[in-house]
Structures are given as C-alpha cells and as structure tokens.
C-alpha cells in the first residue's frame, strides 16, 4: 500500500499536529474565523485588480491608439479619453492588395492547415501511446517531446538549408510542414492525457460486443475525446498563428508572408503609422482570443493534463 504523499501537505490533521503546541498554550488570540476570511477575500480581490491593471494597460492603450486619428496618436500629453473615434486604420488593414490583408489570409491558411494536420496525426498516435504496450514507450515519448526543447532560432538554419534543397523556401507549404512538425509532439502529449482519462473498458466492452479494435476506438472513445481534441487544436492554432521566427526566415515575398512578419514590417521605416500597427495587431489578436474563450474550460484541463475534473 502506498501513502498518498500529495495529500499530506494540506491535510488538516497534519496542520493541527503541526500547531499542536498551541493547544497547550491556550489563551492566545481567539479571533473568529469568519473575520479572518473576510479580510483575506478583500486582499485577494485588491491584489488581482492590481495585476489586471498592470497587464491590461498595454492592450487598452493599443486599442485606443487603433481608434485615434493620426494627430491624437502623437498628442502630448497623451489622451486617455475624450478623443474622437475613427475606424480608418481598420479600413486600411483590409484594403485590397495591402500587405496586411494578404498576411492575414496566409496566416489563416498556414495555421489552419498545420493545426488540422497536427491534430489528425496526433489523435491516433496519442491513442496508441495510451493504450498499447509499446517497447521503449517512455523513451519514445521523451524523444518526441525533446524536439520541442530546441528554440526555433537554433533549428531555423538547418531547416533553411533543407528547405532550399527541397524548393520549399518562400512557400506556404513549407511553413505548414514546419508548424505541423513543431505542433505534433505537443498534440500527442496533450491528447494522450485526454485518452488516458477515458476508461479503456469502453473499448474492451465494445470489442466483446463484436467490434474490431479500431472500430471500438472510433465508435466509443473518439466521441468522448472531442472536447479534448478541440482544446488541443486551439493550442496548436495559437502556436502557428503567433509564430514569428520561422515565418521571418523562411518567407520573404509579400505574397507568402504571414501576418506576424507583415505587421513587424510596418515598424522600421522613417515614419511609423502607429494607428495602422495597432489596428492590425488588434485584428490579429482577436481570433485567438475568441477561440481561447470558447474552449477555456478545456484549456485549463489540458494545461494540468487532466488534473482538473471537467
């Protein structure tokens, strides 16, 4: 029998043992527990509000900048409120033939395709790693994860050389392949956590019912994995959508650039159109925020690898 170490630290018995001395020296302050609780609650809210202000200020500022007229952007002292609102920067972002609208389109194609590929390949792999006794399973899994240890800047040069020989430089296909390769270890690991949570007995029962091994998975386990697959896909999507280093090195022409390098390209000339930069950044951030919001419950479950009950 094993002792559950995890529960000891926060165990009430352990706690009361630890302060057992207090029992002997009774007669010290005996303030009501309710009072303590109220003070703690207030403190927590104050602290969290402070963090929120610090973290959200740049985002709010960016939003404001994207809605200001050119002259208000540079106004001294800076205007927090009471400036006239304009959507001209947003119109510029989407004007036909602009570098940015092509960038967004490319981002959608590359991120969408690589996410779909990584998820499609990841599900069966995760199932196999979860259910079958494979030789050297632990080592294989570690090897798979280790490909994520390298920072992109380190591997981008060999990949560049490789891609040059395969004529993949400056193509969307090249980016899709790189992103898929980088996402796959992650999707396998995360999905394996979700598969582990589905009792293998469903598949055992289905096999005895008369289904084949694979049918049992598709009919019984797969439907239960859908929330997990969705959460995993969003993570993969966020990675490919936000990726900057590979996109900068492996693409150069405006036709193949994805949004991150395209937006970055706006900064660096003699005059910087901060309104346009802010507007494109807002447009760029929005889809990811929406997706993340939709699957937020599963994201938590995914990050903690199933430790949180869904």
């Amino acid at each position: 029998m094993t002792v559950r170490t995890d529960s000891i630290a926060d165990h009430p018995d352990a706690a009361s043992d630890g302060t057992g001395a207090a029992a002997a020296r009774s007669g010290r302050s005996r303030r009501g527990r309710g009072g303590r609780r109220r003070i703690r609650g207030g403190l927590e809210i104050g602290l969290l509000a402070g963090f929120a202000v610090v973290f959200l200020f740049p985002v709010v500022w960016m939003l404001e900048t994207s809605l200001k007229h050119q002259r208000d952007v540079y106004a001294v002292p800076a205007k927090f409120a009471g400036f006239p609102i304009t959507f001209e920067h947003y119109a510029d972002v989407f004007s036909s033939g602009s570098v940015l609208s092509t960038g967004f389109l490319n981002s959608v194609i590359v991120a969408g395709a690589s996410t779909a590929l990584a998820t499609l390949l990841g599900v069966p792999a995760a199932w196999a790693y979860s259910r079958f006794p494979l030789t050297g399973k632990k080592h294989q899994l570690f090897f798979i994860l280790s490909t994520r240890f390298m920072p992109p800047v380190v591997v981008v040069i060999p990949i560049f050389l490789l891609f040059r020989d395969f004529m993949l430089i400056d193509t969307l296909l090249g980016l899709v392949l790189v992103y898929t390769a980088f996402n796959l270890p992650f999707t396998i690991w995360m999905l394996r956590g979700f598969v582990d949570e589905v009792s293998p007995e469903y598949e055992d029962a289905a096999m005895l019912d008369g289904y084949s091994r694979f049918e049992a998975f598709v009919r019984m386990t797969l439907p239960l994995l859908i929330p997990g697959i969705a959460a995993t896909a969003v993570f993969a999507l966020i990675f490919s959508w936000n990726e900057f280093v590979f996109a900068t090195f492996l693409t150069s022409s405006p036709e193949t650039r994805t949004a991150p390098p395209a937006i970055a390209g706006l900064i660096g000339g003699t005059t910087i159109d901060w309104g346009l930069v802010s507007a494109s950044a807002m447009v760029f951030a929005l889809p990811v925020l929406v997706f993340a919001f939709i699957v937020r419950k599963h994201l938590v479950a995914g990050v903690t690898l199933g430790a949180v009950r869904r």
């Binding site: 055992d204 029962a205 019912d209 084949s212």
Partner: protein
Amino acid sequence: MTADEEKPPAIRVTGLRKNFGDVAALDGVDLTVPDGSFFALLGPSGAGKTTTLRVMAGLERPDAGTVRLGHLDATAATPAARDLAMVFQSYALYPKQTARQNIASPLRARRLRPEQIAEAVARVSDLLHIERLLDRRPAQMSGGEQQRVALGRALVREPRAFLMDEPLTNLDLKLRVEMRTELTRIHRALGRTFLYVTNDHVEAMSMADRVAVLRDGRIEQVGTPMEIYERPATRWVAGFVGSPQINVLPCRFDAGTGRPGRLAGDGGWTLPAPSWCPEMPDGSPVLIGIRAEDLTLTPTADQPCLEGEVYVVEPLGDRTLVDVRVGEAVVRVKAGPTVTLPAVSGPAGPRLRIGVHLERAHLFDATTERALRA
C-alpha cells in the same frame, strides 16, 4: 440443446501464465468451467482473477497456456470471435448512448436487422425490469440501474458464456444482497454458463455452484461452496472464506498416552486432538483452525474448553461476537444476540470458558499450511 451427448466444458484454460513486468499475475492456472454452471473465481485483489477473465475474453494475451471455448481453440481468437459477453466492474456503459442503444450495441455490431434488435432489447428489459430506463443515459441513472443496463447489454445476446468482473462491487450493501438473488434467478432462467469474478466470499458462497479460490496467480482450491467452507485445503483458504475469520491457533501435537493424543497450545492451553487426527510424530507443530460458530460460551460438562478473558464484545443484532484473549491470541466466538457479559473495562476483562466443537475443527501443517486429514 440435447442432453444425451456429453457436452464439452464451456471454458477450459490450461497452463495460463502472464507476467506484467517482473510480476507474475498468472503462474500456471488450469480451470475447467462446466457448461451451464455458475462458476466463481474468488480471491483477494492481485490474485489474478481479473487477468484470468481478461485472458479468457481475449482482452489480454497470455505468455503461455491455452484457452478452449467449447470445441474451439480460442487462444489466438479476437474478442469478437470468442462469442463471450462480459459485465465490467465499472459497467463501461457508453456515456453518449441511451440505455436502449447500450443494450443494442452488441447486436448492432453484429449487423442484426432493426426489428430483431428491438425484439431482443424488449425481451431483456422485461427480464431485468428496466423498461422505464431505456431512454435514459448512464449519467441519468443510479448505480444500481446502470448495473442492470450493463447486465442487459451482456444478456441481449446468447453468447457461449457470461463473464462478470466484480459486477456488484460498486453497489451499496442492500442492493448487493438483492442483486445476488437476482443473478441467481437469471442464471436459473437462462441455464447458461456464468463465470463470476469476486473478492467477496459471501458472493461466491451464495451464488456459485462451483468456486475456484485464487491466490498469487495460482489456484488454491476448487470445489463446491460447502466443500470450500467445510474442508478448506489450506489455512489460507480457511482464513479467506468465512466471516468472522476463522480462529487459527498454533500448537504442538502431543502423542501422550495414545490415540488420538493432545494439542498443546503456545498460550498454555491444551485440547484433546480430534478423533480423525492423523498419525504424526510427537511434538509436530500444527495449526488448529476453529470457526467462530464452532465455539460456545455455554459448554456442556464434558466438552473440551479453552480459557481466557473477554477482550471485546460486539453486538451485531442477529448475533454477538465475543473476542476472548487466550494466551497471546484473540479468539472470536459467535454467540446468540442476547448473550450477556459483564462490561469490559480496564486492561483485563472477566475470565470465561469457551467450549470447542472439536470434530468440526481443522488442522493444518505448520510449515506447509496444508490441511491435515485422516
């Protein structure tokens, strides 16, 4: 079905071995499950019962040994081809399907026509009284209801045999007692082979017509429930079957003045050896096993007795268990519900004499722990 020709056993496994890493889950298991029997595999957790069942079902591949189902050598067959139905401890009901769909699942997998399926589901839900549950999902059912639906999914076919893996474990006590009767009834109604895995000796005793006791991946004893209770092959089986646990006291055989001799306990007590006690050398260490109901607090004048002091008294309503300290050991005596004893307080309780029904006692070799018989 014709009764005149000799039927092969429903399931027969020989020489099953299975290792998980360094642990031998099955260490040479041979079992013959007669056709139509209610056969219980009894043992503590880790004894290999569930592994045996899973090997039979084809969910686990044995490292060595064969599985025969009727005339079929099924050692390498897929689960679907074995034509067995199984009830899982967790029920394994598909959460996204209604009870009806769950029950129909084995028939859909076998591509039966919808009207055949509907008819079979109706027959099973009538047998199990679950008509009103058919459109619910597992999450909308109580544990007992899920249990019945899981049974339904097994019973909807007419498989070679039904395998049940501790199906009552997750039910509360009252439901468990009721389901015991229910399973017996269903077994009689269907007349088919049930192979039932359990760690609860009461379940095995009350339902099965044959019981195999497993321990550490080996078969310890096979027999009818009463054989196992009344003639346990080893001290371990004697301890595992029966509640309260059998009292086992170490002692030495004293040939003394002739047959049958005496048993001298480590705590200073002596009892005459039972009349059937086999010949053995003077001073042989043996274990005497006496069930709580074979001890009495009201011994007759000439009954052999143990002496000790009351340790704990446990009134259980229909009986009272009295723990008596005899030397270093504590002996549990089953007494009537109205037994009155002075209350135990302080280190030593009142002293009393316990009568022993010696002819019903068991003797075990102290080293091999195997039963000694005449």
